[in-house]
Symmetry: D2
Subunit: 375 residues, 4 copies
């Protein structure tokens, strides 16, 4: 099968013909239909995770995976209710199943866990193996290019905003900020609207065209932060919302500067959640953080139940997507665009699986062209 | 001034001319513009609260109050930011300010608290005194007949649903039930929609015309429960929503039968909240309650912050009202309609205060007719 | 092997020689060392669960199981870290692993779940099969008769009190009540002390000798409720603690009367949790429940993480036990004592496994006598 | 009366004779019996708060105040239940009473609030005025030098640990860290023990003699962090507790280094709370914070209910104190010791009020000597 693999850090992926992976008894072979492209792929290539994850090269990237069940391992139980031909997405944090977090369902933060595309082979390939417990069947028809990104870009901010909701800072007389307008931000504004019980949603980012999209996707107010101080932003917030501060904010960027600004805008007793990972440090003043009783949450990817919830929204048609369709052979140039911040919404690699989905191990397939996306 | 007062239990209110109440130093005199009529007025007349509250008769009923500041006590501090002529609503639970619940802001459940219209004089009168701390200024223009009910019918289910939200049982793949289609139910379906992060909202009640209104107000699905068993209802739920149970429910009725049905429909780990008080007992089976880990919350009226939040929604125009305008002289016949369950939405007594709002103690005013409601 | 099985409702168990159960690939065969006796065994015999669980007879009772790993199924993964000879306890709610509650770790309330001794064979036998995921290895030496009851009597009130703690009603200026002084109550008073951050612990029960034990186990105050009204009890509470109400209470009985009394004693905004199941109904007045914003939680058994926490306490020596050792052949007379309420603390059936633990399928074993309990 | 006042930044306080402060109608004049000395006094002198608080000089420092009611303002209501001669402590965050946080009881974080000794006159004086709502009567006899510090050092870590408890990370199989062994740390270890439901309490600090005291006060384990890396500390933790990480930690220091170490030691999904303010920055790596889903809480001082809870503990004798008694005339040299970190436990300025407590405005009083502290 074709796969786009990283052989060395800081080099383009190599698109090559490799063996279809074998599956172990509790795994399922998934024929990939769509694989979302994430800024963390660029970071992986650049070595951001080299220290923390130490992946063995070559590695097939791609962790946002939707496709069709192609084959089942011998020990996949009937209770899993999976059959060849089923439309599925892959929940992407695979825990050891034994630690406290796994027992709570938070496999994505298992200390002995793994993530497809960051060690186990990922979705930039025609087939990918996955543990049966990590698949979610999708009953209704949603486009592949819309399903794939839900497993990361479309669920990561959802979990983050659930943490803000649980913190008790969302409600009709509140203001929630969404920082960043990339892949995560386009989903985040929608969840901010859906989960905040009537709070005003303020999108903050650096580029007008992206802010315009966030506005379409539900932001009540947008603010271009370019060159503005916290005090400038407070003035602008006040003009637009009647309050100088954010009761809650989700940071889809994670740059040192964004974090400092976002925390600086928080109201007393406000809550902040980081899902973006562009930068490497949190560097903020201690006294206002403590004396105003702010809370800062790290939130990582999402668990199986979170993904179920997001899929419920998608299947009701309540999520809007901003997708760029990509062919596997164009993956490296799109990674460059991602690095430069020049992708609007989410880029998704699509594979042509029509007519061949039920043939497990179909050969000779070629990635699909953009204008022929599966309906 | 004119006031509608109860002199004896189980008799019509007496509309009579009485002295304008004096205010103590920390009180404000409010010229009443609208006073919502509540089923609990009927219960008060019928003696439901006689034992628990022991009010001294005669008493002026009416606990949903909106109006204009007519006079300020000597010790109302400047920090209260109140002035004669301000449009205000009255938060209706007045605590002693010293107990733990008061210190948490939950004055409505203070053990030494009181409620206007249940002891202190209420809003079925041209003027009413209220502690300055219990007034909320309403900046933007909302109709009097819409403001008044927000202080009870329009905020009580809001608090109830906040408890369900805090219980963690609301979300996109969940189903929330609203039991009852009276004054509280018409608001409850709207909050169920606004606060549940995408859950399906199911309204359950006995009358088709009221269910039709709940549908208009946002219920995704309505079920007429007349003559149906829990099992019948589960079948119907399944047909309509794909699930046989409710993850959460708010009971705006409180009849013994409703409670048993509502609890019977709850899913494992589901949560129930009672705000309705038609009946007197909770009588449900123990084993399923325990073995399925249900949770049952009592929720009473609302606190100041809750009311602030609801007013924020109203001022954004996000609450729809179903109001019947009533003249003070017609109050007794409308209490009868309320007793019979024949009021759709909320009845509100309106007073004509135009042109005279700034004269504190204006005399000779007469209640306003229905077709001339304040804009 | 020997097993005590129920062939018909309302008849004594039959102690008989039966085949050692076969295990499926993901199961472990446990050689039973101790099996706790629970009042729910009596209820099962009496038909209390016949409707809800519909168990196929004959059935081996006994759901509190501690023992030694005797054999492992073929597909028990290495990550489970289990080996023949390991000392283990059995977590007793076995879910389907796929529903939301299972994904949250609450397998004991899975709608498709099962419980050993209530369908699958239980621990009143020399061997019992159990899914590998439900075993917890116990590293340090704790007596068998102390380990076994931890899996139900010793963990069920723990989970209940965790719900009270999560409700925010426990703290240094609070009072927590423990209703009931049977198997669950003896553990409940200890957890009330350990989990309540300094609250006063009040034990309420009907028998002086049992109350004396609860006092020894950590209750600050005991009250004999025999023949006393709620008002009497409030007077007594006031004398003993300076307050007339309980901020929180755990009901280890579940009789209609106990529930009414317990709820009647709750303070405003108080929380109640039911773990006892002696009766069949909750029958309490609606108005005080609602107007005082009480919360009522059902709590059922416990999940794997709860049991881990209790085992941590046991292994630190922080739990005291009140145990009666029982031989398998005496099981029926002890079930009668349990029915009559004449067991103080917990009765545990002990098996003699010394010297034979490593022989999987050892034959000819006989239950151990009381005075030779494993150390 | 005598007062120790700051006339200029970075200079010793001036002990001088000044007018007894007048009280406004809602204030109470308190005759100071004990005034705790806090490291933040040193910071105030050094200018740490100059920017944030802009206090008008000269200012009387001292925010930990216990004493006797000397006079009541005209409008102090009877419901406050205060009388001349009552033993009281002063809750130290005085909000405007109107904002959301005030309505929730969190006056200490009111944006328009003030704190005695940081603007309004403080307790390094024979008399101090305070709003009547901020006084808590102490019924039982506790020593003045023990009462005073409870209002800050003794309640600030209490609130912080309540946040950790609410975060769900405390329990029998958990480990909680206490960083710092100064005034706050000596209380923090005790609350860590009382509020953590059986978690192991690990004290981490730089000085052996202080660690020894923390051990006496309830720490299960102590670690001297001098010169050790995070990895060294993890090794040591593992040896002492069997785990390499902390599930929760309270930082009573707030130095940049301490924060980095403390956060570095947190387990996946762990929670951190900062109460100490020695440094000015939080500077920690982003990726582990996010990917391990850590949570960081700021916690500031405490509210009225928190203080009530701590006083309940103190009155039950469950708090142990490590106090140094100081005379007002020795205040400057003790501020120097505080700056150098050379006070073990808490220093408290004591005034001799025996026999004169009921004379409001008693003159000619002199501070008490150390060996004659009030019993």
């Amino acid at each position: 099968m074709l796969a786009a693999r990283m052989h060395r850090y800081k080099e383009p992926l190599v698109i090559e013909d490799v063996e279809i992976p074998e599956i172990s008894p509790e795994e399922v072979l998934v024929r990939v239909a769509g694989a979302g492209m994430c800024r963390s792929d660029v970071q992986l290539i650049d070595g951001y995770f080299a220290e923390a994850l130490k992946p063995k090269l070559p590695i097939t990237l791609g962790h946002e995976i939707a496709g069709v069940v192609a084959a089942l391992g011998d020990q996949v139980p009937a209770s899993a209710q999976l059959a060849v031909g089923d439309q599925v997405v892959v929940a992407a944090g695979w825990g050891d199943g034994t630690c406290r977090q796994c027992r709570l369902g938070n496999e994505q933060i298992c200390e002995h866990g793994s993530w497809p595309g960051f060690g186990p082979p990922g979705g930039y390939a025609e087939f990918v193996p996955a543990p049966y417990r990590q698949l979610i069947r999708v009953k209704h028809k949603v486009k592949w290019e819309e399903l794939a990104p839900l497993t990361d870009a479309g669920v990561t901010p959802y979990r983050g905003i659930k943490k803000l909701r649980a913190a008790g800072v969302l409600g009709p007389d509140r203001v929630i900020g969404v920082l960043g307008a990339g892949g995560l931000g386009t989903y985040a504004v929608q969840y901010a609207k859906l989960l905040s019980s009537g709070a005003a949603v303020v999108a903050l980012a650096l580029e007008e065209d992206k802010l315009a999209i966030l506005k379409q996707l539900g932001a009540d107010v947008t603010i271009n932060t370019t060159g503005k101080s916290v005090s400038d932003l407070q003035d602008e917030l006040f003009k637009l919302t009647g309050t100088r501060n954010l009761d809650a904010a989700i940071d889809c960027v994670g740059a040192e500067e964004t974090i400092r600004t976002g925390i600086g805008l928080l109201a007393t007793a406000g809550a902040y959640v980081s899902v973006g990972l562009v930068g490497t440090r949190i560097d903020i003043p201690l006294f206002p953080f403590t004396s105003r009783e702010l809370t800062y949450h790290g939130s990582f990817w999402a668990n199986y139940n979170d993904l179920q919830e997001v899929l419920a929204l998608a299947q009701k048609g309540e999520i809007r997507h901003s997708i760029k369709r990509v062919r596997l052979q164009d993956i490296n140039e799109n990674l460059e665009l991602l690095r430069a911040g020049d992708i609007v919404g989410r880029a998704v690699v699509l594979f042509d699986i029509d007519g061949s989905a039920s043939e497990s191990g179909g050969r000779g397939l070629r990635p699909k062209t953009e204008n022929a996306a599966q309906q």
